[in-house]
């Protein structure tokens, strides 16, 4: 893990916090509540962050509300969008009381802007992903509508999760723009754009090409890229099938509700059997309606998987960055080598490789010695420049590999922890569902026994 430059006044508490989205974690429960002000308890995304004056503070971040808004967009057209309220609280050490320090509204596109900024400025970091822009992997009862309240609610949780992940990252949490995102409502966009980060962004085309022409990538990154591709593929498959499973399960439970109705009707013509049938029917109704809560809980699990589906993309981006840098390096090295050769040829007068100059020399005779000297001089300057550049590129590359790999290790541990937690909570959900099933059918059985 990358160590911060030693600074006694800074305190980092990275990675020990689990971000939101897990039902078991009591600490974070409060942050998931829908109540706005005043309902926030201690424990949501506790972390330290430093301000410019290096004061020690514990910060709690929560995305506590979502609101539908209308406004005018860039092309002056009316649009509807959802805005999210971000509240930041600082916790005083002494009494553990939290004080609301900042509160502002942001929309999804601003979150995207923040993330793009982080991606560009920290290419060696596996940047936490945002919740999905559009609802995917839905099963029939879930709405794919972005305005649907359930979707908005799950997105609110996802955005909170994103902020907590960034806040708990040892490096990202110290970013000024991130800090401003939480504290400066107006003008934030302009501030971000003023950093000129867009210019630093690699062109997409270049990023794509790099894969095919890198001669010597670090094997670990190649493997990691392969892994992230496989992970993406398997998790999307999993999410798709899970959605279908949810759909079918819904069907099974709901059809049982029909028993309730027909038992009731049947009981009307029976004397002794009537009561037993009637009450059993009631239990069938209970059974049928229990599936709604069960599947709602399962969506939670799906969201946790989705986060890592998107994380795979972030992982891939780091690998690509490495390849890009490596490609750059190799190109520069090649360039330098050819210049050196040219120089040598000029100096010795031998033409070993085909060059236009060589051709023209042959055809039109040698150039004058002064001209040659001039050219050699230029080349020598370029060569020395090139060597320096190459050196710095090499250093950069090595730094990148070192830093990136450190973050990747951190990420791996986080992933293993989180996914294990997710699997456990999934198993717990299944157990709860089984227990409910046993309960209902046992009750029904008792009613039948009284028939």
């Amino acid at each position: 893990m990358e160590q911060a430059p030693p600074d006694p006044e800074r305190q980092l508490q990275p990675a020990s916090l689990e971000p939101l989205g897990r039902p078991d974690d009591d600490d974070l429960e409060a942050a998931v509540s829908e109540e706005a002000e005043g309902a926030q308890e201690e424990g949501s995304g506790v972390d330290t962050m430093t301000e410019n004056n290096f004061s020690l503070k514990k910060i709690e971040i929560s995305v506590s509300e979502a609101e539908k808004r209308t406004g005018r967009n860039a092309v002056n057209m009316q649009e509807t969008y959802t805005a999210y309220l971000i509240e930041t609280r600082s916790v005083e050490h002494a009494d553990g009381q939290s004080v609301l320090t900042d509160s502002l509204w942001r929309r999804y596109s601003e979150f995207e802007l923040l993330r793009n900024y982080l991606l560009v400025c920290y290419p060696h970091i596996v940047v936490p992903p945002l919740p999905e822009k559009r609802a995917e992997f839905v099963w029939h009862k879930l709405s794919a509508d972005n305005m649907d309240p359930d979707f908005v609610e799950r997105r609110r949780i996802g955005l909170e999760n994103f902020l907590l992940r960034v806040a708990s990252h040892p490096i990202l949490c110290r970013d000024k723009i991130f800090y401003l995102f939480l504290t400066q409502e107006g003008n934030w966009k302009e501030t971000v754009n003023e950093t000129g980060f867009q210019l630093k962004a690699d062109s997409r085309l270049k990023a794509l090409n790099a894969t095919f022409r890198v001669k010597n990538p670090d094997k670990r990154f190649t493997e990691l890229k392969h892994y992230s591709d496989e992970l993406q593929s398997v998790v999307s498959h999993l999410l798709r099938v899970r959605a279908r499973v949810a759909d079918r399960l819904y069907g099974v439970y709901k059809v049982h509700g029909n028993y309730g109705r027909v038992f009731s009707e049947w009981s009307a013509i029976e004397k002794e059997m009537g009561d037993g049938l009637q009450s059993a029917g009631h239990h069938m109704d209970v059974y049928a309606s229990s599936i709604d809560d069960i599947l709602e809980d399962e969506e939670h699990y799906a969201d946790q998987l989705k986060e890592y589906l998107f994380y795979a993309e972030a992982l891939r981006a780091v690998c690509r960055k490495h390849e890009l840098m490596q490609y750059d390096l190799e190109t520069a090295a090649q360039d330098l080598a050819s210049k050196k050769q040219q120089c040598e040829e000029l100096a010795t007068g031998t033409v070993r490789t085909f060059s236009l100059k060589g051709m023209t020399t042959k055809l039109f005779g040698q150039e004058a010695p002064e001209q040659r000297e001039a050219r050699i001089k230029v080349l020598e300057e370029q060569i020395s420049e090139g060597e320096q550049q190459l050196k710095s590129k090499n250093t950069e590359g090595r730094e990148f590999v070192k830093n990136a790999w450190a973050d990747i290790e951190r990420f791996k541990e986080q992933k293993n922890r989180d996914l294990k937690e997710a699997l456990i909570s999934y198993a717990v959900m299944q157990i709860s569902m089984c227990r409910k099933g046993i309960q209902v059918w046992t009750n029904a059985k008792e009613c039948f026994s009284k028939m």
Partner: protein
Amino acid sequence: MKECGSLSDFCDTSLEDDAVVGPDSPLQHLLLCCAGRPDTALHLSIEMGPRAAAGLLCGSCVLSSFVLPLVGSTQGKEDERGHRVLGFLVRETWVGSPRCLDSRKPQLLLAYILYRDMVRSDLILPNGGTPAGTSSPASSSSLLNRLQLDDDIDGETRDLFVTVDDPKKHVCTMETYITYRITTKSTRAEFDLPEYSVRRRYQDFDWLRSKLEESQPTHLIPPLPEKFVVKGVVDRFSEEFVETRRKALDKFLKRITDHPVLSFNEHFNVFLTAKDLNAYRKQGIALLTRVGESVKHVTGGYKLRSRPLEFAAIGEYLDTFALKLGTIDRIAQRIIKEEIEYLVELREYGPVYSTWSALEGELAEPLEGVSACIGNCSTALEELTDDMTEDFLPVLREYILYSDSMKSVLKKRDQVQAEYEAKLEAVALRKEDRPKVPAEVEKCQDRVECFNADLKADMERWQNNKRQDFRQLLMGLADKNIQYYEKCLMAWESIIPLLQEKQEGK
């Protein structure tokens, strides 16, 4: 008071028509003596007039009001004296229908009383020893209180046991078919041997049923499993199908066995015992009972004036009942369909975790565990759907068939009544015969009364059996679902430690 002599004194006792049979009567003495002798079977032949016989069935005659208290009320239930006990009596003792139509030979085998049924092993007579001095009503009732009569005949009181098992496939040039082994054990006099074992195929069951319908038209004949199966859709020779059918055939025979009249039917006897059923069938021996004979000849075409309330009610009940069962059948089929589709998805879902597991290091075991878990749940679900298809649906369908056949018996009854009414009316118009009702009309009336009595008794027994059958069926349904969830619960609980394992170790 007459001392209780040897039992043979009372055999073939003739009683006068509608004789008042009081506390000191020979019959009572006889029965009390019987009460003290656990192992003796007694036949009573009593000559009775048709009306008395019919009355006995309906619990309205004096004899029945005598016998019934003696036999006792059932434990813990409302004492609907006439019917309830009559049901017992009829079940245990009825041999053949009352021959109420031929006054020359009013042979009536009435009380084929089996002591084992009347007296349970824990019955202690108030004075010990012979009950000779205990003929007063008071002690009759104390006898009563000791008697415990269950609805069901359990093993010790039955004298006829029939089982269907051991299906075997037979391949012949012309056809392939399945036969089942029918094992019969009985101490009844009607059976020459104590034990029989024969093989029968579905056709034979079908034949038996038609014969029973023919010969006992006033009774409700249990249904057979469906005859036709769509070839290609259902495999007639698959283990599941054969087993389902075997169970249904077994049920069919057991229901007949339990029936106090049907179980003594000659055709039934032949079915259980004959080495070569085909030969017997070809002979075409008509062993119709008198009632069967007479009812068979009732022509239709008479319009019913008014249906007695109770039969109208039964008809309405059966209509709604069949309707509701049909709905339940459809719901159950739908559930099975949904469950199968759910199963299909699960079978794809589980392996994806396995695929994922192959990519991972630390997560490999947990993911593999989840995959195996889902696999176990899938298996449990498959067992559930199989059970539903094999055990639940067939019984449901059987009852639908049952109520259908019952409705046709009800129709027949209507016809018999209609004929009687028509004849009665015709007579009323012919003034000469006024004072005395002609024998023919009387015959019709008796027919109606017998039919009504048989039907009512059978309906009551049917209602009881239905209640028990459905209680068992629905409890079984609940049980299967409980078992399914318990299997899944176990699977998921067992992987929690696996998932948590390294967590603590970190």
